[in-house]
């Protein structure tokens, strides 16, 4: 099968290549163009066979079996399989008791679906800044945003690192509001022995085919701590005639993939650790911070730049980042921005048409803000100074490839002169000054 192997094997790294000229300046690339493609998800003969077997079962049973198997894996009380991550977040909010016009506090840095799910629940998203180290919701900022109409906190375990759940749980309890996780990046992520999706009163999680745990196309799942919350969500769907049903085709694929999820988690963790060690040696780069007791799922791997460590403190950090981005891409590392502006500055939240005629924002005008990027300085600082790897750490990323990625970062970090030259030649603007990007 074409999905089992890359087209060609990558050669093992050669230390002498680090002394070559940068690829952007005419030197050899660390990863040649013909060898750059990464494949995801892994699809095996077992996946095919399990889909064949699923045809012979009742569709409802295939979906229910998947939901139960994954619920047990996560350790949540109850699970509701859905058609997408967005619908799972919608159901999590409903299960947690969010009602039309309520305020739900969400981080300004996330995927836009987090906030759109709040709108789907006919509620109003209230955006707060992030923690400068973890890039997840800042509990202090969340505390400052709570009003009498706040019904829930909705932290995102962004990129796969669990948010500060103890602090947010305490905050929610103090105000008698719900804690709803957006665990869409955080398959198998943990705090202690508990898995993301089981921390809050409810949680939603995307299972689309580009996630660490992929279903056969599109899918999601909502988790609930109590039967009451689960029943509230199920009744809501029936009352409003909404079809959020998951296809048995997607569920059968997920059932098959779930058996191999721990194996893939280990490969991703190995790749992240290997790359992290290499980055720390460079001075210019640091890997994602992982608090003690947390297990990062590394759906994405956000790398922070420190220009001062290589004598570039006089240059704007965003310009250094842009130059490094160019140099890395030329070497064959598909680094990305993944978001360039706070979510409240995207058009849907600037215009706030919602379901039409301003609903549901019109239910609670007091919660609505005309945000500017500068309202979220920590998010802006992070966007200025970080780059992201996505599929590049996921199985089937082979050992040779991750070693070569590490070498590409080493090679670029050795050349502050080239970075400075690029910054002087180019007219780099800050990320948020470009059209709002999602990926």
């Amino acid at each position: 099968m074409i999905t089992d192997f890359p087209n060609s094997p990558l050669p093992l790294p050669n230390p002498a290549e680090l002394d070559d000229e940068l690829a952007a300046l005419g030197g050899a690339e660390i990863i040649p163009k013909a060898l750059r493609r990464t494949l995801f998800p892994v699809i095996t003969k077992e996946d095919v066979f399990n889909l064949m077997l699923a045809q012979r079962q009742a569709p409802e049973k295939v979906v229910a079996d998947f939901a139960e198997a994954y619920r047990a894996y996560v350790g949540a009380g109850f699970a509701l399989p859905t058609a997408s991550g967005t619908s799972s977040l919608h159901m999590a909010l409903v299960g947690a008791g969010v009602r039309p016009g309520d305020e739900v506090i969400v981080p300004a840095f996330t995927f836009i679906a987090t906030a759109q799910a709040v709108v789907a629940a006919h509620a109003v998203p209230v955006f707060v800044d992030i923690d400068p180290v973890t890039y997840c919701m800042d509990p202090a900022a969340a505390a400052a945003a709570i009003t009498e109409r706040t019904r829930a906190l909705m932290p995102v375990h962004v990129h796969g690192l669990p948010a500060d759940v103890p602090a947010l749980r305490a905050l929610a309890d103090r105000h008698g509001i719900a804690l709803v996780e957006d665990a869409s990046h955080a398959h198998s992520a943990k705090i202690g022995d508990r898995v993301a999706g089981s921390f809050g009163d409810a949680a939603g999680q995307s299972l689309m085919a580009d996630k660490n745990f992929p279903l056969g196309g599109e899918g999601g799942i909502a988790f609930f701590a109590t039967e009451e919350a689960y029943e509230r969500a199920v009744s809501y769907l029936a009352e409003h005639g909404i079809d959020y049903g998951m296809s048995w085709v997607a569920a059968a694929f997920g059932n098959s993939q779930l058996k191999r999820l721990p194996y893939y988690d280990e490969i991703r963790a190995r790749n992240a650790a290997l790359l992290g060690d290499a980055l720390r040696e460079t001075g210019l780069f640091t890997p994602p911070h992982v608090p003690d007791g947390h297990v990062h799922a590394y759906n994405m791997y956000r790398i922070t730049l420190h220009p001062e460590a290589v004598g570039l403190a006089d240059l704007p950090v965003h310009a250094v980042k842009e130059a490094v981005h160019e140099l890395l891409v030329a070497e064959g590392v598909p680094a990305r921005e993944w978001q360039n502006t706070p979510i409240p500055c995207h058009l849907p939240f600037q215009h706030r048409d919602g379901f039409g005629n301003g609903y549901p924002f019109s239910l609670n005008p007091g919660a609505v803000r005309d945000h500017r990027p500068e309202d979220f300085p920590v998010t802006l600082g992070m966007l200025d100074s970080t780059l992201v790897l996505c599929r590049e750490l996921r199985s089937p990323v082979e050992y040779e490839r991750i070693l070569r990625y590490a070498d590409a970062f080493r090679k670029v970090a050795r050349r502050p002169d080239a970075i400075r030259k690029l910054v002087q030649e180019r007219d780099y603007v800050r990320p948020y000054e470009k059209a709002a990007r999602l990926g």
Binding site: G216, G217, S247, G354
Partner: protein, 218 residues
């Protein structure tokens, strides 16, 4: 559809390695769109992961939203509940409808073209769930703006499925409001396409006059 045929289609798509709806190299979703537009003689198709997603898209595509009123054929209780959730009131059952609706299953899938020909509304909602692969639906239309708005409902940001890869705003004037992921899986799309193709072929075989030597002699 026979189990063997479904198995063949699923295996073909899985072997391609492309199972995600926003994959650039996906061919299954465009394939189903082409089949639906051809059979219904509409120029544009929007694929969605449920009947209710399609109703939402058909209305949002026409700029009909919360607080607006529409004319429709009298909706069943489930649809009425969904319209109420959208905040759309039905004020007339006998004026030209905002959308037409038809549900396909193995017994009528071969009649898609004929059923679509009788529809006159700006949007045609086709429920494909009855074909047996899970919730699936489509909106067919000749209105490019309706199509563009409906596509924007099921993707995020200021993009559509074509421009999200270039990261350029598709149409800054076409400002999206609420957005859902109503996207259909390529695996489901491939199975639906096979079911529709087979239904048409079966019907064609049943209605074609059998040419015999005796018939030729007359």
């Amino acid at each position: 559809m026979e189990l063997f045929d479904t198995a063949t289609v699923l295996t073909r798509v899985l072997t391609s390695g492309v199972v995600m709806s926003i994959e650039k190299s996906d061919r299954e979703l465009p394939g189903l769109e082409r089949l639906l537009t051809k059979k219904t003689r509409r120029s544009k198709a929007v694929l969605l992961n449920s009947r209710t997603g399609a109703i939402h898209a058909a209305l949002a595509g026409q700029g009909i939203g919360h607080g607006d009123s529409v004319a429709l054929a009298e909706p069943d209780a489930e649809t009425a509940a969904f319209l109420a959730w959208l905040g759309v009131r039905v004020t007339s059952y006998d004026e030209p409808a905002a959308y037409d609706h038809l549900a396909l299953d193995p017994s009528n899938a071969h009649r898609l073209g004929e059923l679509a020909a009788g529809a006159t509304a700006p949007a045609l909602v086709v429920d494909l769930t009855g074909l047996g692969f899970g919730p699936a639906a489509a909106v067919l239309t000749d209105d490019p703006k309706l199509w563009a708005r409906a596509e924007r409902l099921k993707i995020f940001g200021a993009y559509d499925l074509r421009t999200m890869w270039t990261q350029e705003e598709a149409d800054a004037d076409l400002v999206p409001g609420v957005q859902f992921n109503y996207r259909l899986s390529p695996l489901v799309a491939a199975c639906v396409r096979m079911a529709l193709t087979q239904a048409a072929q079966t019907q064609s075989a049943q209605t074609r006059p059998v040419a015999t030597s005796g018939a030729n002699q007359s």
